[in-house]
Symmetry: C2
């Protein structure tokens, strides 16, 4: 598919008999090419046109973008302009921001980079940042942090790839509702207050200049719309990327993180919900928990007979901690080996000398100090396991609630997409073993990787996607979990390993025995 | 007709069951009210919305304007905001700028003011300003002059009427092609160079802030489109005001000035042309010529027997000079009294002692020094009369050419509109006597006054007019006189009083005898 962003237009030069103005001459031809009546041009570009058109003998290269009710002529250059004309997809994460640089002539990825969201200096989570935004100049500071961070990362990414930031003509930004609010400088205060109302669901296409982004000043920025305070544009990007919105068969998409965000549907309908799952699933629960990186334990196996714990670390380095997928593996293996019971309590008879009491709380030593890089035991505490169980119970309950709301049982779902960078590391078998994900054949689980970045990238490859994004947003029926009483009942039942009703997890029964 | 600019909207406050964002909640309701899909809102207004909506209990006053492919939400205030919400129509003249302040709630005029275009300090005419624009910083200086002049006049007009400039939410600006280019900061260089191409025919609706106008920063500015370099938005405004574009009967509209601009047509077709008429018709030809003002001669009669010259001055003061309409009266009376012949030469036998030779050129004393306020004779020279004859010949030729181009004779025109402030002072009888206007019954001549300002005012009274303005512009067939050979032949024949073919002016024949 050829994207429409770059159009070479050859015009008949003006004569006494054909005295249409420069701007109108170009717009008429470009409207015909794009098959549109509505094409906007900024005044500062109009100012440049007479010179560009005459110097290029009326054959020019037009860079266009699609707004909701009109096309936008972003820039006009000489037809033999050989520069790379670039776009940038941005995954605006609470923790990490990922950039993907695209060549707009062919849609190909030039390069990627990532940086920690500088708003972490204010607070690690959304709530802390929203509270900070209410302070004097707090919102301005949060906005400046992310915009400055982006500008630094963009400059660096451009330098690494022999581009000028001026070559960047269009950006697609997907993030959760709070992150996009802070990015636009919108007050997020009502997001966390009942009835949880964002300032805006569907932001307009904005000029980069308006936002303070140092790319081409007329570059256009598409910000993915949100459905609700807790269901953001990152999820809409994920749905776009997953294609579940255009398939016949019903599928489910789960973004696993501090919040569990779930979409269920097909080409005819889409239902979504989101709920707090706690930080446990992202490795934020244990003292030794951390995000994935070199030396971090990401896979664990426990020998069912010897109870020996075998770990795998990223880049096979001496372990420094454990990430979310490692914690899920650990809990699953501890449960299957009988080292924790159905309530998640350590079983002293089986854990043996690995159990230690520290500050009155039982800890299980995963890696002894002499084999760890931190000069101390890497342990998981009873409190850590309890926290993980609450998180996994929340996730399962959310999945159960949304499927029950439309009367679909899990086994009718042909595909179970796991979205998000973190999600892509989860071992579905382990997640099933602890009752976090339903007991479906493993081949039905598909990891989408960074589906948020994938969706943002798609948006820069065809003018059709803007309509599809709005269509997805508008089709979603949002199920508000906060007001659902059944949720609490289901949650209590899910706080066992794998569940109070083990028949729901037959494969785990088999593995246990 | 109620204008649509101010809409009071009562919204249902958000609940857990209805968690649409503030912005989207308002836009959905306003779109339904305006019956549109396309409604734009600026980011800085979105930032204010949550507070305004909550403080006003979700009943708000919306100020909207119509752009070409979408509506624009310009501001949102409390529903009990009692301020005047104002608009401003601007006649952006080369010589004079006229402002009309409107109450947008009812479309009524609050007040008017005028000021001399400060670009006159650069040069009195378009040509001098275009040459100046080519200098280093020349264009910027010209733009700053008109914008600063407007800001000063706006502030003063607002103060006089107990308004803040912030109350001004929409502006409609009509001017000739060069004036609107300088207003937008667009390089006018190609306007005066064959093939005479403007930078833009149809400017976008702009934000006041973009132009540097100190009114409400989000106020929208409608700039009337032009048809060609010498047929500007002032004429489009005039056509709108005259309504000739929607009538069954064919009418003609003439704007008399340094350029003669003519439109011929009806609801089915419109043809236009423009040509240089020289400064004579605006009083710029004689040393004693000036624009209308106190003490300026605006009417003249000559007794056919005694040849006594009876003058009328504005405010009946001792005369200081003569304006364009006075010069036309004077030439007509001199001709009817036999004091100039068919070639416009002074007839010494009849002029008698009123003729004086100054620097080798014959002058006719209109007011002797002892009756004038300037301490010297007020005279008209042979060169002045020659110049006037060239101007009137150009005007008549333009009228003849455009009517011939569509095969309509003058007597088929039921209405002959004279547009422009200057035009409203012309005595059609005198203009006929010198053969400047065709010999039609006087009642067919209708003065439109400041039709440019009238059209700009209309544009602020209904959202339908933007479409009509574009429709008028697009329907006009522009007849390029510069390439018309017949024009020169007709011009030569028209350089007689009233014409080489006196049968075309039967009423003048009768008056002469």
């Amino acid at each position: 598919m050829k994207n429409p962003w770059i159009q070479t237009i050859s015009l008949t030069p003006p004569t006494l008999q054909d005295n249409t103005a420069d701007t109108d001459r170009l717009l008429i031809a470009l409207k015909a090419r794009l098959n549109t009546d509505a094409l906007h041009i900024d005044l500062d570009l109009i100012k440049k046109l007479p010179t560009i058109m005459r110097e290029s003998n009326y054959t020019v290269c037009c860079i266009v973008f699609k707004d909701r009710h009109r096309w936008v002529l972003v820039d006009v250059t000489s037809a033999n302009d050989a520069r790379v004309i670039a776009g940038l997809a941005i995954d605006l994460g609470t923790t990490q921001v990922v950039l993907r640089l695209l060549d707009l002539r062919n849609g190909r990825t030039i390069n990627e980079s990532a940086f920690d969201n500088p708003q972490e200096s204010i607070g690690p989570d959304i709530l802390a940042r929203i509270h900070f935004a209410a302070r004097q100049e707090g919102l301005e500071k949060l906005k400046a942090l992310i915009i400055d961070g982006l500008n630094t990362a963009i400059l660096s990414l451009c330098e690494d790839n022999q581009l000028e930031p001026q070559n960047l003509y269009m950006l697609a930004v997907a993030g959760n509702t709070t992150m996009t609010h802070l990015f636009m400088g919108l007050d997020p205060r009502w997001i966390i207050r009942e009835p949880y109302i964002p300032v805006v669901n569907t932001p307009e296409i904005l000029k980069a200049q308006t936002l303070g982004l140092r790319v081409h000043p007329r570059a256009r920025v598409l910000i993915f719309p949100n459905v609700a305070s807790y269901f953001g544009g990152d999820l809409i990007a994920g749905i776009l990327f997953s294609e579940i919105y255009q398939n016949d068969e019903t599928a489910i998409l789960v973004d696993v993180g501090t919040n569990a965000e779930v979409v269920l549907g097909n080409k005819n309908w889409l239902m979504a919900c989101a709920g707090a799952a706690g930080p446990a699933l992202e490795g934020g629960v244990t003292r030794m928990g951390m995000t994935a990186g070199p030396g971090v334990i990401d896979q664990i196996e426990i020998d069912p007979d010897s109870h020996e714990i075998r770990i795998h670390t990223i880049e096979a380095l001496t372990p420094i901690g454990i990430c979310g997928s490692g914690v899920i593996d650990l809990a699953a293996q501890l449960f299957l080996a009988g080292m924790i019971d159905v309530r998640g309590r350590f079983v002293p008879e089986i854990c043996g000398s690995r159990l230690k009491e520290i500050d009155g709380i039982l800890h299980l030593v995963v890696v002894p100090a002499d084999q760890a890089a931190i000069g101390a035991d890497l342990t998981i505490s009873q409190a850590d396991v309890d926290s993980l169980i609450r998180s996994k119970a929340a996730m399962y309950t959310i999945l159960k609630t949304i499927t029950a709301a439309v009367g679909i049982s899990f086994d009718k779902l042909d595909t179970f997409y796991i979205a998000g960078t973190f999600g892509s590391f989860i071992n579905p078998g382990s997640a099933i073993s602890i009752g976090m994900l339903p007991d479906l054949p493993l081949k039905r689980y598909k990891s989408l990787g960074n589906s948020c970045l994938g969706g943002a990238t798609l948006a820069l490859t065809s003018d059709n996607y803007l309509d599809e994004i709005d269509d997805i947003r508008n089709r979603i029926t949002y199920l508000e979990l906060n007001v659902n009483q059944e949720f609490m009942n289901r949650f209590s039942a899910a706080k066992f390993l794998p569940h109070t009703d083990p028949k729901r997890f037959p494969s785990v029964e088999i593995k246990k025995t």
